[in-house]
Each structure stands twice: as C-alpha cells, then as structure tokens.
Amino acid sequence: MRPLAAAETVGTPALNFVIFAFFVLVTLVIAVSAAGKNKSTTDYYAGGRDFTGWQNGIAIGGDYLSAASFLGIAGIIALSGYDGFLYSIGFLVGWLLVLLLVSEPLRNTGRYTMADVIDLRLRAVPVRAAAAISTLTVSFFYLLAQMAGAGALVSLLLGVSSTAGQDIVLAVVGLLMIFYVMVGGMRGTTWVQIVKASILAAGAAVTTLWVLSKSGFSLSVLLHHAAAASPAGSAVLGPGLEYGVNITSKFDFISLALSLVLGTAGLPHVLMRLYTVPNAREARRSVVWTIWLVGLFYLCTLVLGYGAMWLVGGKQILAAPGGGDSAVPLLAYHLGGTILLGIVAAVAFATILAVVAGLTITASACFAHDVYAGVIRRGDTDPSDEVRVARITAVVIGIVAVVGGIAAKGIDVAFLVSLAFAVAASANLPSILYSLFWPRFTQRGALWSIYGGLISSVGLIVFSPIVSGQATTVGAIGASLITNPHINFAFFPLNNPGLVSIPLAFFLGWLGTVTDPHPADAVRFARMQVRALTGVGAERGGRS
C-alpha cells in the first residue's frame, strides 16, 4: 500500500487540475457551439425537442447521478456496508414510477415545466405560482447539496484547504455553470450531461473492473476481504449497521425509502428533461435508457464501496477531508495512483458542474416561464422577453448557489439530497398524479396539496433532530446543526419527513377537492386525458 498521511491531499493537485481544465474546455466548446442554434423558447428550454431517446436517456442519467450518488453512496457502503446499498435501490426503483405513470402523459401535455401540466388541467394562476414555488424549493435544496459536495471535493483533490481558497473555487464553479446555461441553453446543457454521464459510466466501470480483478472476479472473495478489513466484521454484509440502531432509526429508514422511491417522479430537473425529445414515445425510450444507466451504475458503486472498505479501510476514509465522500477518490489512488485519481476526481468534478447546470436551467426556466410569464405577466410576453428573463435568472441562481454553497459547506451531502427528494415527493408528486388521473381534482385540492406537502416536509425537518436536540452522533443520525444541548425544539423524532408529509399531501389534495365549492371542469379533464393518452396537440420536436 502506498504511504499516505491522513487528512492530506492525495495525488498531484497540478495533474488533477489539468484534467479538470480539459473537461471544462471541452464542455465550454460544446456550450458555445450549441449557442448558435438557440433562437426560440423551445430551443432554450427544451433543446429544440430534437434529442433522440437514447441521447436524452443518457442525459437524464447525467442529471440524476449527482456527486451524492457517485461519492456519497459508495462512501456509505465503504463505511457501513449494506445500508448504502439500500439507498441505491430506492434511487433506482423510483424510476419505474417515472416510466409507468409520469413520462408519457407529461411529455404529451406540458411544454417546458412541471407546472405546465397542472396548469393545463386547472388553468389557475395561484396553482401555477404554487407549483413554481415548490419547483424552486426542490431545486434550491438539490443545488445546495451539489455545492456543499463541491467544497469538500475541492479541498480533497485540489489541495485547497483554506476557507477563502475553497470559496473562490465554488465561485468559479458558479461562473462556469452560469456560462453553460446562459450561452448553451437546454441544448448545450444536455450535451454537457451526455459527455459527463459517459465519462462517469466509463470511470465507474474501469474502477469496478479493477477492484474485481484484485479479488479474482469473485464477489464472495471481495465481500470476505471487506468484512475482514472492517472493525464491524461480517455485520457490514447485512442491513442494520446504520439504520438498525433503534426503533426510531428503523422508522427513519422506512421514511427515507418512501421519499426516495416517490421523490424521483417529482424532481423538476428530471421532469423538464422529458420535454427535450420529439414525442412521448421517445420520452418512454429515454427513461428505459436511464434505468439501464442508473441501475448498472449503482451495481458498480456496490463493488466500489466494498472495494474501498477492503483496500483503503474505514479509518483512513474517515480521516480524509470529506469523510465518506472521499472513499472513491482514495480507492482510485490506491489502485491506479495519481493518474486514476486525477481521472476520478475530474469525473466527480464534472458531475457536480453538470448537475448544477441542469438544476440552474430548470430553476431559471421555472422562474421565467411560470413566475414571470405565467404569474406576473399573465401570459402576456413574447418569447425573446421570456428567454431574456431566464438568462438573467440563471445569473441570479448562480450567485445564490455560490453563496448558499459557501454557507452549507459543512452539511452532509446525502442528507441535503434526501431532503430534496422528500420535498419533491410531498409537494410535487401528489398534484401531478391527481391532475393526470383524477377527474374530480380541483384548484383548492392542488393548492392544499402543494402548500401542505411543502410546508409539512420543510417544517418537520426544522423540528427534527437534524436541526436541534442531538449533541452527538448515534448510528446513522449525525449530530444536529445546533449542537448546543440547551436549544432543543426537535419534537418530530425522525430525520426524514416523508412518512408523514407524503401521505398528508395526498390526503390534503383529496380533502381540498371534496370540500371545494367549485366542481372540477369536466371538459378540461377530457382534454387532458385525451391529450395525455394520444399526444394530440403536443408540441412536436424539430424532426417530426
């Protein structure tokens, strides 16, 4: 094993930097070359709708496989074994709900954003405003997670350990992403996702094969060595190390599982990607491609996680900056030295850049299309005006992300991502499903469901042990943000709000509807249903 002092930078920062710079250069060229084609709102928001199913499928995978997946899940597996695998299965299975329930009707009935679908059904400004607020909230939490991850990664890989230095790097990330989104629009961002997903898949596959070659391509041998290297022994091969500590943490995990499986179908940046293909059939194809990519990728993280447990060891991972998130970079360093580490680091950095760009375009489209054109101007705008607002919004979001990322540097990435999933599953999913499938759904039902889901999920987190009341780490549950034991307003025992907030949002959607004095518009539902099933009236892509 190579000698490596704990809490030091690994590899050669200069080499890592050269590989980063190369990726940035390639993607900038892509963004600039896409810029010439961006003329209309459809070009800017939906990449002209002329991506094919597999291209978009890879791009959705690129948007979805964030740093939290690549570094976070492998890190959880490396530190506590099987429980990290449980996470990844939730992230994968949720895609089937996107495929079966949401992708085709959404593509058939919407134009650019999630709120379009609900608006087609209910045609009410307050509902569009509510959907926009929840879209922006989910995007914000997700964005914070990525920026917080970027901070940890940079300190590990570029040798930037001073606070000011890290903040400068975060600002550079923000600037790059503003550039991609402003110049490249959805077309440029999609190509950046495709490039990133391809190198991420290649990097994960190579490292996985490398680990397997060390154990003679036997999973059993790998697991045996991993368990032997861990202080917990063979307990790492089964569930419970993180979530089995007590009854609260068990229910906490069930709550998390519910958010993960239902959250994917409500993630605005995933839903928005479904509009970049010419029709619903291509949307279906793209989701099947995504399922392949995401599934095979998570199988790789299983090997990478146990591989890091065996070859690097939990002690060294915990001592490195970034903790669990450093498991894969350290594993790469152990296997292939500075070159492989540089490649893995570039992949991880590319991942953060691309996901941040994807979130920014979603949030800027949501603001320009839903808030500005839909709510403030009541539809009275011309497309060039809307795109101009979207570009300005991208700059504002970039600045907010940088400031938020600097503030959120210490917060656990996996936690912020699971928070975004919980809010997406509570605030977005119920009204999407009700709009598409329930004839009686009304405006009051939508407002109660969206605001109820949003307020309850965010509120329960504020009053959970995450924010206050827990001075020390117990199992999976780390210490609170407020570690002062005298400040304790954590009356909700679980860290994950989904178990309460998701059923509540569905219930409020129903209750608001049945108590609404204005009945649902039957003609509007008929139109929605016919359009959702047949695709008539849907905006076509460039080629068809």
Binding site: S220, A257, W292
Partner: protein, 125 residues
C-alpha cells in the same frame, strides 16, 4: 386483427361533421369513443398492477431489511447472503418491468394511439 381495423360505426363515425376548431367538444367525443376506452383500459390494466407489484416488492424488501436483518444475513454461497441476492433481484425486477413495459406499449398501445391521434388531427372528431 380486429384491433387494427378502423372503428367505423362507433362514436368516431358519427362525429365527422364536427369542425376541428371546436376542440372542446371534440375531446369529449374522443373520450366517448370505443378506441379511447380501449387504450385507457389497456394502459390501466398494465400500469396499475405493475405499480402495486413493484411498490409492494420494494417495501417488502425494505421492511425485511429493517425488521429482520438476521434473515438477510443468512449465507447463500460463500460470503454472498440473502440480503445481497434480494437486493440484486430488485435490480433485475426493475430492468424486467422497464423492458417489459416498453415492449408491451410498443405492440399493444402505440398502434391504437397513432390511429386515434391521426383521426383527431384529421378533424374526424
């Protein structure tokens, strides 16, 4: 074969006089047509059981992992235990449902929706 014959004589045939512009009533007419309900019923008969099944299968896995971790630790071969096999089966079932749905929708749904959309866009409703 009957599936691919145009549904003359049903609601589709009686509504041809309607202008394509009066879409609102057109949509209701489509919704009343036999083709539409065939698509609707078929889609439901796949999607509803599939969702119930996959969510049930997933939460069965989660609940066993949380409340019966000992069961998951039983060895199948070497250091590979039931938990790992169960987890791998979640991947297999996800791939299988995704591919199964794509195939099924391509063969059983797409021809019908194409026909209905062409009629609607041609102003037949």
């Amino acid at each position: 074969m009957a599936l691919f014959q145009p549904a003359r004589g049903t609601a589709g045939g009686t509504e041809v006089t309607q202008s394509a512009r009066s879409r609102a009533s057109g949509y209701e007419a489509v919704r009343a047509s036999r083709d539409f309900w065939t698509i609707h019923r078929r889609l439901g008969s796949f999607v509803v059981p599939a969702c119930v099944l996959l969510l049930g299968w997933y939460f069965l896995f989660v609940i066993i992992a949380v409340f019966a971790p000992g069961f998951m630790r039983i060895s199948v071969f070497g250091d590979v235990n039931i938990g790992l096999c169960f987890g791998a089966l979640q991947f297999v079932s996800t791939f299988a449902i995704a591919l199964g749905y794509r195939r099924w929708a391509h063969r059983r749904l797409d021809p019908l929706t194409d026909r209905l959309r062409q009629r609607l866009e041609g102003g037949r409703y």
